[in-house]
Amino acid sequence: MVAVGQMNDAPRRRRLRISNSVTTYRVVALVLLFALWEIAGASGLFFRGVIPSTVLIAQAFVRLFGDPAFYTHFGITLFEIVVGFVIGSSLGVVVGLALGINRYTGEVFEPMLNYLASTPKVVFLPILLILFGIGVGSKISLGAISCFFPMALSVAAGVRTINPMFLRVGQSLNLSFGHRIRNIYIPALLPPIATGLRLGFGIATVGCLMSEIKLSNHGLGYAAMQAYNRFDIPTMLALLLIIFTLAGLGNYLIGRFVRLPGPTNRRTTVLPPR
């Protein structure tokens, strides 16, 4: 083991050096972006107030954080995203398994699912509004629908790449269906499930925010639209930044905590953290 460690030392040092320079460039890029923003705002080339100074945006942040209404909006949005995400992802795993395990259902339904997956889910919003009203119901359901598709398709495709020997072992041990699902399918499918979760969280966020912006009386999307209607651009931008952070943080946390069992570096492949 010691010898292996020594053998790996040189590449690790090189990787470290690369990651150091990457961090430097990132910081430089951010600083440049700030500078460009300020210059563009001060240049007078744009309609006044469209590109407010970062100072104004910072002030808007302070105002928001002191405002109890903001926390209500934030809480509602977070609730919608999480509930929609959990419902959509769970359904996605179940449907994905059904499509993948049974070749017949797969052949019948998967093309339909593929077509639906590529349409913008916001077209379902009018139906959802009629079904669930303009409250959290329509937001949760749109979020759930949004993240359902990538999960279902990712799991269905994953089932077909499971090593058939694993299934044969299950068969030769005469395992029950429930045992096979729990002890063979699910663990073998953890990589595509993790991918589905990471893709799904961002998409569920989009779904919830989209319906908040379209028609709603609460949530961060609604608050951002109100700020827009008041032409309070700094507050609107502050809210958008909070939304970005929320989505990014969710993705990061999922990547961090959805660890795959097995030797190290069997991590999720989509958007690795750090």
């Binding site: 041990l173 073998a188 795959l260 069992p261 069997r266």
Partner: protein, 281 residues
């Protein structure tokens, strides 16, 4: 299931027929017509016996194993285990496959304990038994390694230990060493001989490696190329315990030559057929 640890299985009653394959025939319907993979095969395997089935590719030896193992339940004839008909999978017949079959998401010990876990055995009990089995296959110290961290030979030993966990009456192995290099294969063969000796495990091995068959078996069955029939049974009268060192002996060489003599004709038939098929394409 009884509670005795697998290693303590008594080595009694050698000689009674455990597995009886009685006039078994299996044909497949293919695009080119009906192919008879296994044709009227009858065979008795005695308690504690190690038999090898050897034959050219396409002789139906894997089909035969899948029928005994229960993966193919639709065939003509009968397979009897201790007098009871076998159709479909059952825990008393354990299978080890040629391909990689250890679960990459489980450590070595979790892999071996898996069948026991599925059967609902208590945790400390199944862990203790899995530890004994890992010891039996010579993997003590690797309990908490994942398959990806082990060599192919070690992974195959995990698969063997996992199959033995259920104390199968009959152990079926379908070319378990085919994917391994020659040296590993020889050493693993020694390990299998040792395990078999210790457990008196009734074993049926499918192989296309002649010296492996001679090294391990009490009897070697040579199958014909399509349709698969038993052409000849060679009794291997070499002293036990055996090891790969024996391969240099004159008697060993004589057995290898004897098996090859019968096998060659079948193998060339298989070769001609596959070349003809390639030519037709």
């Amino acid at each position: 299931m009884n509670d005795t640890v697998v290693i303590d299985t008594p080595s009694t009653a050698v000689g009674l027929p455990t597995l009886r394959i009685d006039r078994v025939t299996k044909s497949f319907q293919t695009a080119k017509g009906k192919i008879t993979a296994v044709d009227d095969v009858s065979l008795d395997i005695r308690q504690g016996e190690f038999i090898s089935i050897i034959g050219p590719s396409g002789c139906g030896k894997s089909t035969l194993m899948n029928m005994v193992g229960g993966l193919i339940a639709d065939f003509d004839g009968q397979i009897l285990l201790d007098g009871k008909a076998v159709r479909g999978c059952q825990p008393s017949i354990g299978m080890v496959f040629q391909e990689e079959s250890t679960f990459p998401w489980r450590t070595a010990i979790e892999n071996v304990a898996f069948p026991l876990e599925a059967a609902g055995m208590a945790r400390d009990k199944r862990v203790a038994r899995a530890r004994d089995l890992l010891d039996l296959v010579g993997l003590t110290g690797f309990e908490n390694h994942y398959p990806a961290e082990l060599s192919g030979g070690m992974r195959q030993r995990i698969a063997i230990a996992r199959t033995l966990a259920f104390e199968p009456r009959v152990l079926l192995m379908d070319e378990p060493f085919a994917a391994l290099d020659e040296q590993t294969r020889l050493l693993l063969g020694d390990k299998v001989v040792q395990i078999q000796q210790q457990l008196r495990q009734t074993t049926m091995l499918i192989t296309h490696n002649i010296s492996e068959a001679v090294q391990l078996s009490d009897r070697v069955l040579i199958m014909t190329f399509r349709p698969g029939r038993i052409k000849r049974v060679v009794d291997i009268d070499l002293p036990r315990p055996r090891s790969s060192e024996m391969m240099g002996s004159e008697k060993f060489a004589k057995y290898v030559a004897e098996v090859w003599n019968d096998l060659r004709e079948e193998a060339s038939k298989g070769l001609r057929e596959s070349e003809a098929a390639a030519g037709a394409r």
